[in-house]
């Protein structure tokens, strides 16, 4: 019976990698099972087909709201092909909570030069907490293929200087 020659160093690395995999899987399984942690971080379901009829994502409830603690809540809808309201304005260096839901299919929302980036899955509300550092106008871009107009799906985010 012939045996495959494996260099002892190679053998040690195989064990090391096997060990790393076991640790990472262990951590994931532990937190998924024991702490009920799973992506996306905000699991909140909603009926995407009925978004416009009532509640948080009804047409008149969209937009930017200033909270009592000085932070901002932005409520938006992603729908083929745009983000509504089409233009929003928030101050720089201020906590912003973005809540966004899809009216139709899978979308994504990404603001360049910021850490604002989330999937917008139909049937769920996506929530992101961030602070915009740089004043200026930025596009909000859809980064999940959503149909023929995907590469034209964007809206405008204006970040104003300083706290207001």
């Amino acid at each position: 019976m012939s045996t495959i020659h494996i260099d002892p160093l190679e053998k040690r690395w195989l064990w090391a990698i096997g060990g790393m995999l076991a640790i990472f899987w262990g951590v994931q399984i532990y937190f998924a099972a024991a702490e009920n942690m799973h992506p996306p971080s905000n699991v909140e379901t909603i009926d995407s087909a009925k978004l416009h009829l009532s509640g948080e994502f009804a047409e008149e409830n969209l937009g930017v709201k200033k909270e009592a603690d000085g932070s901002y809540t932005v409520t938006m809808v992603a729908a083929r092909y745009g983000f509504y309201p089409q233009e929003i304005e928030v101050p720089a260096n201020t906590p912003v909570k973005l809540r966004i839901a899809s009216f139709d299919v899978l979308h994504g929302v990404h603001v360049p030069f910021s850490n604002m980036n989330t999937m917008v899955v139909p049937g769920y509300v996506s929530e992101v907490h961030t602070q915009f550092q740089t004043p200026g106008s930025f596009p909000m871009i859809c980064n999940e293929y959503c149909g023929l107009g995907h590469d034209y799906m964007y809206s405008k985010l204006h970040v104003t200087a300083g706290k207001s």
């Binding site: 047409e59 083929r80 745009g82 089409q86």
Partner: protein, 244 residues
Amino acid sequence: MNNKHIKTVVGVAGLAAAMMISPLFAAGHEAAVAGKAPSTNVAWTAEQVRFVAQGDKTRGAQLSESLFCASCHGNAGVAPSSNWPSLAGQRAEYVFKMLKDYKDGKRKGSHAAEIMTAEGQLVTDQDMADLAQFYASFPLPSLPEGVTFDTAMGEQITYLVRRGDGKRLLAPCQSCHVSNGEGQATDTPALAGQTPEYFIKTMQDYKTGARSNDVYSRMRLIAKVLTDEEIVQLAHYYAGMTAK
């Protein structure tokens, strides 16, 4: 008097009443939808899509006769006058949604809308699904022979239709209404072969906000940034398009 006769009498009376009392209707609905109401009550849940799909086009044909739809929209859904929209080949979901929006007073802002709002009171949801399937069963209207349209801005308009205009946040028309103008699921309407006068009027109504039954203002935002000249040229572009 059989059922058909009763329907005819109701239809005639309804149409006459609609034309007489439509200003009253409009006033009533203005108050009803002002403020916090959604732009449409139609939500495309799976059940709603299935409901429209089960519409009976044969029954729709009978209804279209008793309600005298053809007097404005033509026998096979091709409008005899360019003031009225052709409905031939229109997406069933779109026709259903419009009938529902008229009935609920969500689509208003013109005399024609007032007539349709009154007509809407005469039909049930099932009637709407049947009528929608009836009109969807025809092919899209094609350009009458010998008719041509001004296409002075041909290249610019084709560019707008195919590529949009990023500076104005304009997605290309064809990303929703598709390249042969036949519309798309669920309720994006077909535009191919539509009468230009009606197309222009519709876009102007979106522009001024007179028409506001587009969820999240999606069409109003587009119409607002189009120039009057572009609207005219787009109307000609789509009127001259023979859908495959």
